[in-house]
């Protein structure tokens, strides 16, 4: 019997998801043995035109990482959707925009004005030079893709079958997903989150929790946190209660707060909204005004509560006039 066909692709990402796959170490050879890898730009020489030439639905499994940030990312997302039986959004960026999605707090125009104009090291020539999709050079014409104003998650561009969260997904979880698929067991219902738990990050955290009554928040640099007690109990904003389990609570074990890379917990659509409600219930105040003034101590709620999920949240982006 022919081996199942596997494709891996990265769009707007950092390469960390690819490294997480490589962190399977010797098991990566098992993956290469069990699958016929038909497309993996990082490692193999198959090209876009090879993929275009494939039959529709001829790839059994495609693990797609990275957010959708320009015309080329979108084009390849559509191509791989058409060619794949099962398309998996792999890692925070494909799942929910990830950290590149924080660009939805600003605009393409603002980014360009700074990067190519105002940045202190940049030489601004004759009112500014900016990238253009088509450039006539003395010898001919050359092109680059069009950058979008808004960063999108994969499922905002094409239909997605499954989701694997994490920035990056932890290698042990990746292996579980691959083992499951190779076992031949029936696949879970479409839309399922794979390679993660069904609880919150707090359930994996080894710190001791008490009844929370918060009057004051601290920023992580302001205090040396007790290594055994719940960080939120100590007044440090920790995204644990609004984050899906699966990573093993690595950040809190390293004495820094969770920032939510495993995405919202089961049955929660908007991670930021979930965090606001979690915080509201533990603040030691009853008057709305007092609650508000305590919450105001949090330095950057948008960039903290939506660190990885802004592009996929109910907000999606901040509108700028």
């Amino acid at each position: 019997m022919a081996k199942p066909k596997l494709a891996l692709y990265w769009a707007a990402s950092c390469g960390g998801c690819e490294i997480a796959v490589l962190d399977l170490h010797a098991k990566i050879l098992d993956v290469a043995g069990a699958f016929d890898i038909v497309f993996w730009p990082v490692a193999l020489d198959f090209k876009y035109h090879h993929v275009r030439a494939m039959e529709d639905q001829s790839i059994d499994l495609c693990l797609f990482n990275g957010s959708i940030r320009n015309s080329e990312n979108a084009e390849i997302a559509h191509l791989l959707r058409a060619k794949s039986k099962t398309l998996v959004a792999f890692g925070s960026c494909a799942l929910e925009g990830g950290i590149p999605g924080l660009a939805n707090l600003t605009t393409k125009a603002e980014i360009w004005e700074y990067v190519y104009g105002e940045s202190p090291s940049t030489v601004k020539q004759n009112g500014g030079v900016y990238p253009q999709m088509h450039t006539a050079v003395p010898e001919g014409a050359i092109e680059i893709p069009e950058m979008w104003d808004t960063v999108k998650s994969l499922d905002q561009v094409v239909d997605v079958d499954y989701f694997v969260p994490g920035c990056p997904p932890q290698p042990e979880r990746i292996w579980e997903v691959i083992e499951y698929i190779l076992s031949g067991k029936p696949l879970p219902a479409k839309g399922a989150v794979l390679g993660a738990g069904e609880k919150t990050c707090c359930d994996e955290c080894g710190r001791t929790r008490k009844e929370k009554k918060l009057k004051k928040f601290y920023r992580p640099f302001e205090i040396e946190a007790d290594p055994k007690e719940c960080l939120l109990d100590q007044g440090i904003v920790c995204m644990g209660p609004a984050t899906r389990s699966g990573c093993g609570a690595l950040c809190t074990a390293a004495n820094v707060p969770c920032r939510g890379c495993y995405g919202p917990p089961p049955h929660v659509v908007d991670q930021g909204a979930k965090m606001v409600s979690a915080l509201s219930s533990i603040i030691d105040a009853h008057e709305p005004q007092e609650i508000e003034s305590i919450l105001d101590q949090i330095a950057d709620p948008m960039g903290t509560f939506y660190r990885f999920s802004l592009a996929h949240s109910i907000l999606r982006r901040v509108e700028k006039q």
């Binding site: 997480a20 320009n70 924080l102 660009a103 700074y114 940049t122 450039t135 680059i144 992580p220 004495n255």
Partner: protein
């Protein structure tokens, strides 16, 4: 006019692309090396609490997040005017040297190495890490996988996560190590030093004992006279984590030695409309276009550059090999781009020796690991050497430490102009009137930039380490005359 496209070479984000134009005589008229993507970190970091940037800027690169984590933490130290305790600095440096040893290993065996170990014109299907394993044996292949596994294990202990570390915070680190952890890391570091020695020997046996390779390294086609940049300690020895940035001219004379806070007096960036990436250059020399030589502000920041600017290595075994390299290649500075591979394995050994020294230091298990900032945050610059070049993070904040301005000059970006030059020179040297452009030609052009271990190949640090390329030669109407795929 013929138009040759190499698209995609795998990526920075998305991919890189090379366009080669031939004139009617079939000679190279010009080449363009384009970077097709921008994510805008500098702009969307504005408004964030500055202490979060060591955890946000790691996502610039998932292959070398350690470099951004460190440069960012150092910039935060400067913003808060705080000096981390000795144990914290040593823990950061331990993490950083272990990272360097692992990162250079992957490049040497999986990316750059196959060209030499398997051969520059070997069949493309062989010229990858699997080919390396076939050539040198499974035992060596297993060692490389083990090196990677061990470095990642240590990075998880020291950094909290093996990718996208979290432990460096303004004023120090969030977590120390126990005596047991130090003992275990020491055992790993001893192994890293042995692996470094083994790699140096392998470089001698496979590359230096082959006269063809030595000729290739020394050929004019792969050589550029440029300025060089790298961090040095107070004794002008190579340092990856800290020190001053030293720049030497193409004759090896010091042009400047600057502190991080002075980078804007020394570095500017030029913009071209046909690419998303800017071209940094030496401000005092000036931008003269994509040309090398003493009058051009183009500089290189690579392993070879670091060895060119320094007076020596900080550790004994690496120092011996450093002397050997400059003796063999005719003194400093070495302009041969392909000698970067030699410099890289010397750095690998040095990083391993350095890590072993650090983990044996009694301070390493100290418990005073944080200095809590007390002053009003303002502005600061943090510089480290990323494996691919000098990395600068510059932040300015309001009085509450909310970021108002971010400027980043990233490892590979330093080398954008020289990589473009190297591609152009190799293409001009290899593509001649009437000569057929073969797959081997293509690989030789690739070798010109692969030596830089560019970050658009950052992730090409992966398994078989072979960049997928298509090269098309078109006539003036755009008709494809010849196509090579691999």
């Amino acid at each position: 006019m013929k138009h040759i496209k190499i698209d995609p070479i795998t990526r920075l984000e998305g991919h890189g692309k090379i366009d080669i134009f031939l004139n009617d005589d079939g000679e190279v008229a010009n080449t363009y090396f384009q970077i097709p993507e921008l994510r805008g970190f500098e702009q969307f970091c504005v408004g964030r609490p500055v202490e979060e940037l060591p955890r946000i800027t790691t996502r610039i690169c998932g292959v070398c997040p350690e470099a951004h984590h460190m440069a960012s933490a150092k910039a935060c130290d400067a913003v808060f005017h705080v000096d981390p305790p000795p144990t914290a600095k040593k823990l950061r440096q331990l993490l950083y040297n272990v990272f360097f040893a692992g990162d250079h290993t992957t490049h040497f065996y999986a990316l750059g190495g196959p060209d030499f170990i398997v051969g520059p014109t070997a069949p493309a299907a062989e010229r990858n890490i699997l080919g390396v394993v076939r050539k040198v044996g499974l035992e060596v292949g297993g060692k490389v996988i083990e090196m990677r596994k061990r470095t990642q294990e240590v990075l998880k202990v020291l950094g909290g996560k093996q990718t996208h570390q979290v432990t460096s915070v303004p004023g120090g680190v969030s977590k120390g190590i126990t005596v047991e952890e130090a003992t275990s890391i020491e055992e790993h570091c001893r192994w890293f030093v042995e692996f470094g020695k083994f790699t140096i020997q392998a470089f001698h046996d496979i590359v230096l004992k082959n006269q063809q390779y030595v000729d290739l390294i020394l050929s004019d086609m792969f050589s550029h006279r440029t300025y060089y940049m790298g961090l040095v300690d107070e004794n002008n020895r190579v340092n990856f984590y800290d020190g001053k940035v030293r720049v030497v001219d193409p004759d090896g004379r010091e042009l400047v030695k600057y502190s991080p806070a002075e980078y804007l007096d020394n570095i500017s960036e030029h913009v071209e409309p046909w690419t998303y990436l800017k071209f940094p250059f030496l401000k005092k020399v000036g931008w003269k276009g994509l040309v090398d030589g003493k009058d051009s502000g183009v500089y290189r920041a690579t392993p070879l550059s670091r060895l060119n600017v320094a007076d020596g290595m900080p550790t004994p075994l690496a120092q011996a090999e450093y002397e050997e390299m400059f003796k063999t290649l005719g003194g400093k500075p070495v302009h041969a781009t392909l000698a970067t591979h030699w410099a890289r394995v010397i750095e690998l050994l040095s990083a391993a020796e350095m890590a072993l020294d650090l983990v044996r230091d009694p301070d390493i298990t100290g418990t005073h690991i944080r200095a809590i900032p007390t002053q009003v945050p303002t502005e600061g610059v943090g510089i480290v050497e990323a494996p691919r070049g000098t990395l600068t993070h510059h932040y300015a904040t309001d009085e509450k430490g909310i970021v108002r301005k971010v400027n980043l000059i990233v490892g590979t970006t330093n080398n954008y102009a020289p990589i473009s030059l190297s591609i152009s020179k190799a293409a001009r040297g290899l593509i001649k009137k009437g000569s057929e452009v073969t797959e081997g030609t293509l690989n030789m052009i690739e070798m010109a930039f692969r030596a830089y271990d560019p970050c658009f190949g950052c992730a090409t640090h992966a398994l078989p380490g072979r960049m997928p390329l298509t090269l098309r030669i078109r006539d003036t109407d755009g008709t494809v005359l010849q196509e090579i795929r691999r």
